[in-house]
């Protein structure tokens, strides 16, 4: 049941041709990828989601869980600019929690590396996917991680606290716990209070074992003491951040609502200007923006490195199915993989097999 059918393969070929028609260069990459790069990017979680295998001479190898990372690597080592790429092929995902879901399926992707007008590039990718998937009558969802990041960056609190929140934007529960702590909503644990009071916190530490040095332990205690002196994040700021996270409207109303919130959180204004330009660019490409949903929290729980525009296409009435297509902007990923270089980048993937399930194949 894992082998993609001829209908699915034909659908993938059709999408590939469609993206080539749109100006993309066709690329391919190896099924086996060095695990190190992916582990470094995604952390331990990827082991639960991807197949890792051992090679005595090459080290750990991973069956590619997606094409985006190898395509970014390929582009960053000598791709001409601007560039548009398309690809089609199997990706492999372990499904520990959902054994009924496919662990091998075909993704067709389209990725844009272009410095000139990132907001227009966002609209270009979304509009292409919208056209390619139009016959299926899917429900599109959109969001913008960049607005959340700007909101966190703009909080009136220490750089350390902002960095801690930024690190956990993609982990909503931890993010919420940090926010509560910084706002003084959660009580200081007794052990923490004792540590902060102690004359010599390391007096009863016992023998020093492990790689983490006394200097590192002392530095953190110092940082905790400084943090305890910081005034709590104001209720108004937390409320403004919560208001951002709660925005769920069609695009024009979402923008209007966010502009209202920006009165209390002016740091998001730049990100909102980009949102506004993106809406215009989508409109110019014929997307019905009056009815396009926008959700500020959308994309927060995905493991991808999206840091701007995010989107997905869902089959209405089929909550059992994963999204038919997903995508977004990943500028930071190009920086991580670029050895000092970076370029604005946006793209997405379509699961060709779901199109067949939804009766859309040839």
């Amino acid at each position: 049941m894992n082998v993609p059918s001829t209908v699915t393969r034909a659908e993938a070929a059709r999408l590939l041709a469609f993206f080539e028609q749109a100006g993309a260069q066709r690329v391919d990459c190896g099924i086996l990828q060095p695990a190190e790069v992916l582990l470094d990017l995604y952390g331990e979680d990827i082991r639960g989601r991807a197949y890792v295998t051992q090679d005595p001479s090459r080290g750990e190898q991973m069956l590619r869980p997606d094409f985006t990372v190898p395509v970014v690597q390929m582009h960053m080592t000598g791709g001409a600019e601007p560039a548009r790429y398309t690809y089609a092929g199997e990706v492999f995902r372990r499904q520990e929690d959902h054994p009924e879901r496919e662990n091998e399926y075909i993704q067709v992707g389209y990725e844009v590396f272009d410095r000139v007008d990132p907001d227009a590039a966002d609209a270009e990718v979304f509009a292409l996917f919208h056209t390619a998937l139009a016959p299926l009558g899917l429900h599109p969802a959109t969001g913008d991680i960049g607005i959340l990041m700007a909101a966190v960056e703009g909080l009136d609190t220490s750089a350390r606290r902002r960095a801690a929140l930024m690190r956990h934007i993609w982990r909503p529960r931890r993010f919420r716990a940090l926010l509560d702590r910084f706002a003084g909503r959660s009580p200081v644990p007794a052990s923490r209070a004792a540590l902060l009071r102690a004359e010599d916190a390391l007096a009863d530490a016992g023998p020093m074992i492990g790689l983490r040095s006394v200097a590192e332990i002392s530095a953190r205690i110092e940082a905790l003491r400084e943090d305890a002196q910081d005034r709590p994040l104001s209720e108004a700021q937390v409320a403004a951040l919560d208001a951002v996270l709660a925005v769920r409207e069609t695009c024009p109303f979402a923008l209007e609502r966010l502009r209202d919130i920006a009165v209390d959180l002016p740091a998001i204004s730049g990100a909102l200007d980009r949102f506004a330009r993106r809406i215009d660019a989508l409109d110019k490409r014929g997307v019905d923006i009056e009815h396009l949903d926008f959700e500020a929290s959308y994309g927060r729980t995905s493991m991808e490195y999206y840091d701007g525009f995010v989107f997905g296409f869902y089959a209405a009435g089929r909550p059992d199915l994963p999204p038919v297509a997903t995508g977004g902007r990943y500028d930071a990923l190009t920086r991580r993989l670029g050895n000092g270089a970076e370029i604005p980048a946006v793209g997405g993937v379509i699961r060709a097999g779901l199109i067949e399930i939804l009766g859309g194949g040839q």
Binding site: G43, A164, R167, R171, R173, L224
Partner: protein
């Protein structure tokens, strides 16, 4: 045509399992030489005793090669995906207690909970250029637990034994392992995080949901469970 009952093949776990069944009128015993893994069942008909490693019992239950088996809840949950669809817990046996915990060096006076561990992992990665290593053999349980707890910037390193020694030997910064009294942890200058254990485990009698049963086996199983008061 017999019901297959899997029991740990060695040590206290085996002896206590024999005792538990014995108290309910089902006598389990080893046969042959001290080194031979065979046994017999007295007190009920058509039940065969299969002695094997506690670590293999979950797999054998899931494969349907055992009808019943005694092993730790930690092993079932680590080794079986969607364990509750593959086996049913029939009885907690009241011994073999062990908690799966996360422990860090006692000298980490600034670390008491997952929140701290996450903050330290972030600083550790920046300082040392690699993720904070946690030694364990319970990869799935620990990964799920740390993901739910929102911990980032760590990596699991496999340790199949003497896990408490890995921190001192500089092959890990922290560990996740089972402990009953915590004595080995203390002896190795480690302390348990205060968030409560990942899992409280004890020896448990499981029934396979996968094993096929003939009419005779069904009857034998019912007779055995009746005798055990289950």
């Amino acid at each position: 045509m017999t019901v297959k009952l899997g029991v740990p093949s060695k040590g206290r776990l085996m002896e206590k399992t024999f005792d538990w069944f014995g108290e309910r009128g089902v006598t389990l015993s080893r046969t042959g030489s001290e080194r031979e893994y065979s046994g017999k069942v007295d007190g009920v008909e058509d039940v065969q005793l299969v002695l094997l490693s506690a670590g293999e019992i979950p797999r054998e239950l899931a494969a349907g090669r055992l009808h019943l088996g005694v092993t730790g809840t930690d092993l079932v949950r680590e080794k079986l995906v969607q364990w509750d669809q593959q086996v049913e817990e029939m009885a907690a046996l009241g011994f073999g207690f062990a908690d799966l915990i996360v422990a860090v060096p006692s000298c980490w006076v600034d670390v008491d909970c997952l929140d701290d561990l996450d903050a330290v992992a972030s600083a550790f990665r920046a300082e040392h250029g690699h993720r904070l290593r946690i030694a364990t053999k319970y990869h799935r349980l620990v990964r799920d637990y740390l993901r739910a707890g929102g911990v980032a910037d760590y990596q699991l390193v496999d340790s199949q034994g003497a896990t408490e020694g890995t921190v001192k030997n500089l092959t890990a910064e922290a560990i996740a392992d089972i402990t009953s009294t915590g004595e080995t942890l203390r002896a190795n200058h480690l302390k348990i995080l205060g968030d409560g254990p990942i899992l409280r485990s004890q020896a448990t009698l499981f029934r396979s949901r996968k094993a096929q049963k003939s009419v005779a086996e069904r009857a034998a199983l019912k007779q055995l469970l009746d005798r055990l008061g289950l």
